[in-house]
Symmetry: C2
Subunit: 391 residues, 2 copies
């Protein structure tokens, strides 16, 4: 009856006999992702040096996640920077599907979002799609989703968003505010279109088919709140792109700006390539993990090193294919440290044990600290709720 | 893009080469309805003498709308009467799509619903599907729907429902209460099923596809309110049956009683056979019509009479094919008066002018009175709202 959507979006176009070896949809990310090919297939833009310079001219710096290509693609990012310059301040909008606990992979785009909020003094809407996570899987009960929703909110707050300028939207709790906009959007999208964009099939349940406008609604909510057309920038992993493509298609006709996006890559898992996944807990470091667990996960991680120490000394490792390297680079190394680590690894002068030790140490102290902030967050949950009061 | 659903439900099954000459879906009613065939096609039950006797044993009488066959079909009506007898009191649930002003055809099932409420001391949920009416048509603005929603609520209240036991649900206003149940229902219904039941196509907008669970939700709301399985009886015109069939299919799996229904015919229009339609205003008497308008509509109504007075005297009329006769029978004649009218008409001893005059007189005074109650209703609208307080 309620089979999950048979998503075949974007990466199964076999023109020329070429079949992609990866799959990226809002519900599935599989295989080794070719990000340049994703840009091409999704019709987004690369983040150019020119755009980075524009950011630098406004903020005085280029954030490492931008510089190192973790955020690698966009739509209208340059346009929204110009809007900001001319006095039309943008809102930020991002979200989370509360289907499990939060791991470090989730934190990265949120940390970048916080950085953007701080630099541009932006208001932020943070949506939790508890409805979608309930609708998607027959195994998950509403109670389970409610549990993860509560837990995830603590993580979101612990990231450090500005409490005066951040509002959390929980779909089932705040549906009142989303539904009228969602029906406006839904009216403009036929089943054919939704099928093509999201890969829905005859066996998809009608809740999933009706859902996309609910995720689109916060793109237009700022305009309704402010009573004028408000530019909205969405920092999120690229698997969410189908939603924004759909939203951009209807924005004009509804009298709103098209939402701009800045797309991140996925954080590699510790056990393999691909997206760090809550459904494979051994490949991810969760904000709820105990130090011993983090230690174990770090020390047993997959690396880009050789099979033996002598081979490693002889041939050197492959840092760019090493999840431990990327973890360290994105979270714990400075740019200089990371560059040195790469040189040492390639030349056979750095053993995997050392990097894994660095990861264990960094991650343990990071999570210990994060857990404290997570605990403090419990006292301010209601302050962050969308219905609390004006931003 | 947002074409309306291509509803081909139930009456286009051409097994045996027979094509029905009528069409009944939640969005379209066309042609001369064969109600017996509808019972067969929809898989409902006829209201038998036995059921009427059961009603009589509980209420002391058989309401004319039941006796005269205006309510002609049901599902589990007998079951719900037994539940009531055994102390499990049922809720009533009915609704209205606010796409225009209310006419006398709309009032009939509502008047019967009020009668049931009075006789069985039932709580009633009355839903206004403002979302559906907005989603269905590209011509209708949200503002227009809001206008009709406000106007229709006055009509509903003017019918005289018990203010202590009646709550009005406006979908966009009370979505908070409907949405969690709706997602439970939606998760159990595939696009294939919805397509078969409602006639959705690839060009149907995804709002319409996602809508049916919103109309189904109030069937289960009483159980949530009362914290136990509550039997629900839906008095409504038979074109709404697809919703209840879908709802009954999922009720078991969600742990609720299947909602019972009692189905009415459509009130014939004054200008032709078929459903009295808001989109053909000359064929309907609206609660907002002025006396002169009512007079004019009555006197120019289509009848079952002959072309000339002398032919009428010679051949007699056809009261059962005469909308004026049915109007008088359902609204203004006693049973005895109506039977006498039929005999006189058939024998050529009653001229159409007299019946049309009776209709004009009856309808004018009915609407004058109704308008007074409608005006009084303005003071108690909030008392009837679902979110006002407990029933």
């Amino acid at each position: 009856m309620d089979r999950e959507p048979n998503s075949s979006f974007a990466t199964t176009d076999n023109a020329g006999g070429h079949e992609d070896e990866f799959k990226v949809t809002p519900w599935e990310v599989e295989g080794e992702i070719d990000y340049n090919r994703l840009i091409e297939k999704f019709g987004t833009q690369s983040i150019t040096t020119e755009i980075m310079e524009k950011v630098k001219s406004m903020t005085g710096e280029i954030h490492p996640m931008l510089k190192l290509g973790y955020f690698f693609s966009h739509r209208d990012f340059d346009w929204i920077l110009d809007k900001q310059k001319s006095g039309e301040n943008f809102y930020l909008y991002t979200g989370r599907g509360p289907s499990g606990m939060v791991h470090m992979g989730h934190l990265m785009p949120w940390m970048f979002t916080k950085y953007l909020q701080d630099k541009f003094n932006s208001k932020l809407l943070f949506q939790l799609t508890d409805d979608e996570k309930f609708l998607y899987s027959h195994d998950r009960s509403r109670k389970e989703i409610e549990h993860y929703t509560r837990e995830n909110i603590l993580d979101i707050i612990a990231v450090g968003f500005n409490p005066d300028k951040t509002r959390i939207i929980i779909d089932t709790r705040h549906i009142q505010h989303l539904y009228p906009i969602a029906t406006e959007i839904a009216k403009k999208i036929t089943f054919s279109t939704a099928k093509a964009v999201f890969g829905f099939s005859n066996s998809t349940n009608i809740g999933m088919i009706g859902f996309p406008p609910i995720q689109a609604a916060p793109c237009f909510l700022p305009s309704i709140i402010e009573g004028r057309q408000v530019p909205v920038l969405i920092p999120a992993a690229i698997d969410q792109d189908p939603y924004w493509r759909m939203t951009r298609d209807v924005a004009d006709r509804l009298g709103y700006y098209k939402p701009a996006q800045i797309h991140s890559k996925f954080l590699p898992g510790l056990g393999m390539l691909g997206k760090m996944s809550s459904s494979k807990p051994e490949t991810a470091i969760f904000t709820s993990d105990e130090p011993e667990t983090i230690e174990k996960k770090s020390l047993t991680a997959f690396t880009g090193g050789q099979a033996t120490i002598s081979l490693q000394k002889q041939l050197g490792g492959n840092p760019l294919g090493c999840p431990v390297f990327w973890y360290l680079r994105y979270f714990f190394d400075t740019e200089k440290q990371s560059d040195e680590r790469m040189v040492l690894c390639k030349s056979g002068n750095l053993m995997c044990g050392e990097c894994k030790g660095d990861l264990a140490k960094g991650a343990k102290s990071f999570i210990v600290e994060f857990k404290k902030r997570r605990q403090k967050a419990e006292n301010v949950v209601e302050k962050f709720m969308f219905d609390a009061k004006e931003m």
